[in-house]
């Protein structure tokens, strides 16, 4: 493969995805939100759905989705993206509709909306970013915060006696009949990034093929609120986080119910 002596390299191997707007993001250094945005943009490009997409932004660090992904975007109130997306998709069944939501957004305040969207088998795709905290509001406990983890509202560490257990959304949603695809991925190593892309592609395909609800849960970092360097934060994902939240595909529908 290696061409000895080549000094000019003109073939682009990696360039900014077309659907990723060419601006600086507000994300903190090393925050995986950026990586996940990139992956979403790449998949939009891959399936050529950019001009046919409507994204639904959540409230959380990903609220500026509309500034970063070059598609039509509607802002949903905190936690309500799946309901808003339902309203969009029912009105425009031919469009590609996705939400992008944090773990506070999806697994706390928006629990009901995501469960019922999944249960109805709404034909849309959810990108779910689990960073075990409320990034945007300054690092409070999320439903996904690990036991013992210190956050600004669990200053002594999360204790299941008072704060309950970290909730596993990929598994929970996989248990619903309307869910076509549910997987948990991470982006802390190059290999994980590859797998994550594959999962998002599957999720996109589910929607494109009318199979119903699809969700990809990302284990993500929040270096800022974890009080860690980005590399250490990745280490945490690779360690205790994926121990508690196992990566994998929890449901994959092979055929549409009505096929």
């Amino acid at each position: 493969m290696s061409i000895e002596g080549k000094t000019e390299f003109t073939k682009p191997v990696y360039t900014r995805p077309r659907s990723l707007v060419d601006v600086k993001t507000h994300f903190c250094p090393g925050c995986h939100h950026g990586t996940i945005h990139k992956i979403v943009a790449e998949c939009i490009d891959r399936y050529g759905v950019r001009e046919n997409s409507i994204g639904v932004a959540c409230v959380g660090c990903a609220v500026f989705l509309y500034d970063y992904i070059d598609v039509d975007v509607v802002e949903a109130p905190h936690g309500r993206a799946p309901a808003v997306a339902t309203g969009v998709k029912r009105a425009q069944p031919d469009k590609f509709v996705f939400t992008y939501q944090g773990d506070g957004d999806l697994a706390a305040i928006g629990t009901s909306e995501v469960i019922h969207a999944a249960n109805r088998g709404e034909n849309l795709t959810v990108v779910f970013v689990n960073n075990t905290t409320y990034g945007m509001t300054g690092g409070q406990m999320a439903p996904t915060t690990l036991l013992g983890q210190k956050t600004s509202t669990t200053p002594y560490g999360r204790d299941f006696r008072s704060d309950g257990y970290p909730i596993k959304m990929a598994e929970l949603l996989a248990g619903l009949d309307g869910t076509a695809y549910s997987a948990r991925v991470a982006v802390s190593t190059p290999a994980q990034i590859r797998k994550a892309k594959a999962a998002v592609r599957k999720a996109f395909e589910m929607q494109i093929n009318g199979m119903g609800f699809s969700i990809v849960e990302f284990l993500s970092t929040c270096p800022t609120n974890w009080g860690m360097k980005p590399l250490d934060a990745q280490g945490r994902v690779l360690g205790e986080m994926s121990e508690y939240f196992p990566l994998g595909v929890y449901k994959e529908r092979k055929q549409a119910d009505f096929a």
Binding site: I54, A76, V84, G87, V88, A91
Partner: protein
């Protein structure tokens, strides 16, 4: 019921709640989301039966919170869309309504109100005036609020609500109660005739052939949110100037002017007719739009009468808008009947008493 539309050219006996559905469908609404609650279940039930055949969407949401956000999504898609609920459900929609007002999204929200506060009861009431008219959600927006007092108006005002919502890109509310919602009356379908253009260049339909668009209410940069608030304010002022509607009823030579809306106004009509037969010079100004409130009309009226009698099925809410509209505060009288209809007899008694005192 399915033959209603077919027969729509002649008089039929129709329920108020169903008249809303006919109005919505006539106005081109094909999308309905809702969650059951008494006393408005006829609306989702009618829509469930009829929208699919019209190629539309009926969806029973898992809650009113989800409902209003589905409404938001469909509205952002550029489609006419409606929901209906009552007190507790409308309260749960307040966050979403605030987002819609902030994002400048049109929709029609029907409140067939019941008794409160809390679970309250299902008796007719006008206890939600404040919530509807002053903005129950955060951030100080306004809803356009229309108050039908007959089955026929349930139809016409619903059509109007869609037009106004689209024209001003803001949610409009029909504020009814169990009386106008549950009763049947002779009804005649009138043709839908709209001046509002159907074009929605702001709608999210995918960015093919254009720049991407956003529908949002967040404004973080510099003083963008201040600018946005003044913009919204300007819109609401325009609505005030242009869209105020009220009915004058037997106001010629009146010395007593009732001000009442919806069912309270309807009952008042009977009492006023009786009083007129007794020779008492009484009439009524009936606000049809609660926001915008007919301030100018009340201002002018108060100068020509001895007393303005505000009648509400609550303990006093619209009376505040009357008091704001005229400086003649000592001419204002109030008859309240929370969570119940005043009877024509009660109203007549009060009119007689006022006539004795003032006339």
């Amino acid at each position: 019921m399915s033959s209603l539309a077919a027969e729509a050219s002649k008089k039929i006996l129709l329920k108020g709640n169903e008249a809303i559905c006919l109005g919505a469908i006539a106005a081109g609404c094909r999308h309905y989301y809702g969650y059951p609650i008494t006393p408005q279940n006829d609306i989702p039930e009618y829509m469930a039966a009829h929208l699919p055949a019209l190629g539309g969407t009926f969806l029973q949401a898992e809650s009113e919170v989800a409902t209003i956000n589905m409404i938001l999504g469909t509205s952002a898609s550029g489609k006419r869309v409606m929901t209906s609920s009552s007190g507790p459900g409308i309260s749960l929609m307040q966050e979403g309504l605030s987002y819609m007002a902030g994002s400048e999204l049109p929709a029609v929200i029907v409140n067939i109100s019941r008794s409160g506060p809390g679970l309250g009861g299902i008796a007719p009431s006008q206890g939600d005036y404040f919530q509807a008219v002053k903005g129950g959600g955060h951030g100080g927006y306004r809803l356009i609020v229309l108050a039908p007092h007959s089955v026929q108006e349930m139809y016409t005002l619903t059509m109007l609500a869609f037009d106004l919502a689209d024209r001003y890109r803001t949610p409009a509310m029909i504020l009814g109660d169990a009386i106008v919602g549950q009763m049947k009356e002779p009804f005649e379908a009138t043709p839908y005739d709209s001046a509002t253009t159907a074009e929605k260049p702001w709608a999210l339909t995918g960015c093919a052939g254009r720049e991407r668009l956003h529908v949002k209410s967040l404004h973080l940069k510099d003083n963008a949110i201040e600018v946005h608030n003044w913009k919204l304010h300007g819109k609401f002022e325009r609505i005030r100037k242009t869209e105020t509607r009220a009915e004058s009823f037997l106001l010629d030579g009146a010395k007593i002017a009732v001000v009442a809306f919806g069912t309270a106004a309807r009952v008042s009509k009977t009492a006023i007719q009786w009083a007129r037969k007794e020779g008492i010079p009484v009439g009524m100004l009936r606000p049809i739009t609660l926001f915008p409130f007919p301030e100018r009309e009340v201002f002018d009226l108060a100068k020509t009468v001895d007393v303005v009698l505000v009648i509400e099925m609550n303990t006093g809410q619209m009376v505040e808008d009357v008091r704001q509209s005229t400086p003649l505060h000592d001419r204002i009288a109030f008859l309240g009947k929370p969570c119940a209809m005043p009877t024509p007899e009660e109203i007549l008694d009060r009119i007689r008493a006022l006539a004795g005192r003032k006339g």
